[in-house]
Every structure is written in structure tokens, then in C-alpha cells.
Subunit: 194 residues, 3 copies
């Protein structure tokens, strides 16, 4: 398993978990958990693949749907144990944003070869799942919060694309992009960077 | 005309009617009726076809747009006669959800052969039109209501896929899926099942 | 540069400016400006190309992304000088609606040859960017305002398609559609036509 696949799975599973936590906050039933987890988990990647003109990843490999479903079920049976579901949602969303954003930039670069498209694809892939989650749950979008959000995924994508074009090996370039994005978003969450 | 086409037309026309009823509640002009009816009528199927990678149905056959337009006009001239437009909207939405959800599962199975994708496509096709309608009209999404909604379309899709793979003829499998989905959603509406 | 390309660039740049003005109203940082400007600028055309089954325009030509970025930066450094950002947003949106709506009809007709699809594509291309902008910024959709909106883009598309099929040269047909759409929407804004 290469490092890109790792970011892909991490992003999808964690975004699915944030969708399930959102369902928990809205006191939906288990089907609501499955639905919101799946839409959040696969939303960004679906738009990415459509725009890139490649087959949608989960239509090719339904296993991704099962990952979302299992994650949703896990959250369904444990979320009531948490003290602050929204706090956890924000932190999982931060890791997912960093991972899935870099994976989006990776796939965008792979398919088009254009650094600009790669960076835009990273932002789109990283943010769309969360946007759909918030719109569907009727909550204010995480994008509109005061502290830094989009900047983190943009920086991660830029670092990945720049180091990758400079010849850095995939695990290092992907790791650097992920670390930078996560560092920025974590600082925003922990210290209110804005 | 086979039974799948019947479900397709039923779903599109009724979803269009719910969009028009939503426009009526918002006191839009006739163009607003046409717009909201068309988006609601063709929204779910459009996303389904894009994700499946097949030509979008109404681009191939513009007649579907005319069905939405005629439905919108019909509602425009009669909706003021109704006592409760929202009640009617919910019931038409229920039949449309059942019909279009099963048709989505049918098309998903036809194109990909995967039962998982078929069930997901059923849910997507059945729910997206209503989601777009509610987001555009600025109303709380029907998905977030307390009583059962997504479960109905999921059950209908599962029944259709299971009976279809078991060898049941199309009219029977489609009819069974439709009946189950409508039964569950009707119970939710009539008796508040949740 | 033919007249269709002019409408395309005008629509994208002005929609991007409205997205940036919306970011300014929400007091977002410069990255928020870039994001909202880009989504608003390219949103309608992206959906149009996906539905028509042609390559997405900005994936083919990343220059469009740069146009949105430059526009966003320009608004970022000047928007605080304005007395009423929302008023300007509405007027830029009017010109963008007229330009991009006619370009959408032009491309729809070019690709499918169907007048109905062309008119629908004009409406979709003209309105979707603004819808995404308002949904993301959490503001009431411009579509739901009392004064005429969708009617303007519909009329512009109809005029373009009719005059174009009647054999009028592209600059004249496109100019006529643009002028009619802008006239109607301007009247709505200036005199409250509804």
C-alpha cells in the first residue's frame, strides 16, 4: 500500500466519522448516520473524479462505501459516550482535511499534469465533503468559521505539488503536504489562528 | 412501456410537482415554478447518470424537461385551490421517493452489475431532488425530519436488488421494491413512524 | 476573439467578483475571497460541461482559475472603499447572469443541437454560480428574491437560440440575447419589476 492510498483511506474514513458525528448531534436514526457518513466520506472525491473526467472511485470499488458504513455504525454505538461531539468532529475534520486535500492534489497532478489544477483539486476534494455535511445537517458551514480552514488545505496542496515537482519521493512529498496542512489547521483549532 | 420506465416517469413528474408546490409556498412567479420543478424533477437522475458515467438522460431526451414544465404549469394554476400544500407535497414526495429510488437502483444495477452500487444509486436518485428543492427554497431538508425517510428508499432499493438478483421478473421486482418503500414512508407520514 | 468568448470571460470574471464581494461581506480572509470567487466564477460552467459530457473548461485551460484569483485579489484590496457592497454585488451579478446565461445557451446548442437543452443549459450556467455563492456564504439565495431573476436569463437564452436558429450571425444573436437578459434584470433591480 503506497502512501497516497493511505491518505485516501484516512480522509474517507475520518470524513465519514465527522458525518456520523453530525448525525449524532441531530439525533438521527442509524440510517441517517449511514447516509450522512457516506455523503461526507465520498462527496469530495466524487466531485474530483467527475471534474477530472475519470471513473468515480467508489463506483469502481464499492469497498469504499462499506468503509463509510462501518465507520457510521461504529460512531452510532459510541457517540453517546463522548463529552463534546462537536469538538471531536472538528479535530477529525482537521485530519481528514489534511489527508484528503493532499490526496486530491496527488490525483489532480497525476491525471492532468497541471500544478494549478492539482492545487484546486486538493482544495475541492478536501473541503466538499464537509460542505455537504454541513448543508445537509443544516449547520453553519465550517468554511465560514473565523479561524483558518481553507488556507490549511491550500498550503498542504501547494507543498505537495511543489516538493513533488522538485523530485521528492511520493511518501516524503505527501507526508510534507499532510503535515503542513494538519499543523496549520491544528493551530487554528487549538489557538484560534485566523 | 416497461415497468422501469413507468417508475422513471412517475418519479420525475411527482418530484417536479413537489418542486412546484414548494415554489407555490414561496409565492414565486411561474418561472420560479418552472425552475424549482425542473431542478427537483431531474436533479437526482442527473447526479446518478454523471456518477455512473452514462449520458445524462434529459440531454439525450429533452422530453423529460417538457414533462417538468407541464407539471409546473399545472400546479401553478391549481395550487391556490389546495388547503394544505405542504401536506400534499410530503405525500407526492413519498410516492416519488419510492418510484425514483427503485428506478435508480434498477439503473445502477444495469450499468455496474454491483448490488452495493445499485442500492447507493437508489438512495441518491431518490433523495437528491428533494434535497435540492429544500436547499434552493431555503426550507429545512425533508431528510432531517424526525419520521422515517431514507430508510424507506433504502429498503425499496434492497428489495428490488435482492428480488431481481434472485431471478424475479422486472415488473415484480420493481413493484415489490416500490411497494415496500411506499409502505414504509406512508406509515411514517400517517403514523409518525420514526 | 469571438463574441462568445467575450461573454464567457465577462461572465466568469464578474461572477468571481460577486463571490469576492460576498466574502467581503462575511469578513473572510484573502483565502476565503479566493475560494468563494473561484467557486462562483466556475461553478455554473462546471455543471454545464459535466452534464453536456464535454471536458470541464478550466481543467483544459487553468487560465480561468487565474482570472478568478486575480479578480478576488482585486476585490480584496478595494472592497472596503465601497459604500454598499451588496448593491454592487447585485449589479455585477446581473451582468454576469446575462453574459454567462447566453454563453451557456451557445455552448448547449453547439454541443447538442437541441434548442430545449440549449435554453436549459443557459439557465443552469447563468444561475448556478450565484446559487453556490449564496449557499456557501449562508445568505438567502438571490433566486428567492421577489424581483425578476430567472426570467431574465431564460429570456436571454430564448432570444439567443431563436435568432441563432433563424440564421443571425453569432455576434448579433449573442448580443441580442445578452441585451434582453440584462435589460430585464436591470429593470428588476432598478424599478423592482416582479
Amino acid at each position: 500500500m503506497n502512501s497516497a492510498i493511505l491518505l485516501d483511506l484516512l480522509g474517507i474514513a475520518l470524513f465519514a466519522a465527522t458525518g456520523a458525528l453530525s448525525a449524532s448531534r441531530k439525533e438521527l436514526d442509524i440510517i441517517g448516520f449511514l447516509f450522512l457518513a457516506t455523503v461526507t466520506g465520498i462527496g469530495g472525491g466524487t466531485a474530483r473524479d467527475l471534474i477530472l473526467g475519470v471513473p468515480v472511485f467508489w463506483v469502481e470499488q464499492p469497498l469504499y462505501i462499506l468503509i463509510c458504513a462501518v465507520t457510521a455504525a461504529g460512531v452510532f454505538f459510541t457517540a453517546h459516550l463522548l463529552e463534546s461531539r462537536y469538538r471531536l468532529l472538528l479535530w477529525l475534520d482537521a485530519v481528514a482535511l489534511a489527508a484528503y486535500g493532499v490526496f486530491g492534489a496527488y490525483k489532480g497532478l497525476l491525471v492532468t499534469g497541471s500544478p494549478i489544477i492539482a492545487v484546486v483539486m486538493g482544495m475541492l476534494t478536501g473541503t466538499l465533503g464537509g460542505i455537504l455535511r454541513d448543508v445537509l445537517a443544516g449547520e453553519p458551514s465550517v468554511l465560514m468559521r473565523k479561524e483558518i480552514y481553507i488556507t490549511a488545505v491550500l498550503a498542504g496542496g501547494l507543498i505537495y505539488v511543489a516538493t513533488s515537482l522538485a523530485g521528492l519521493a511520493l511518501p516524503l512529498a505527501a507526508g510534507a503536504g499532510f503535515a503542513v496542512a494538519l499543523f496549520i489547521r491544528s493551530g487554528a483549532l487549538a489557538f484560534g489562528w485566523s
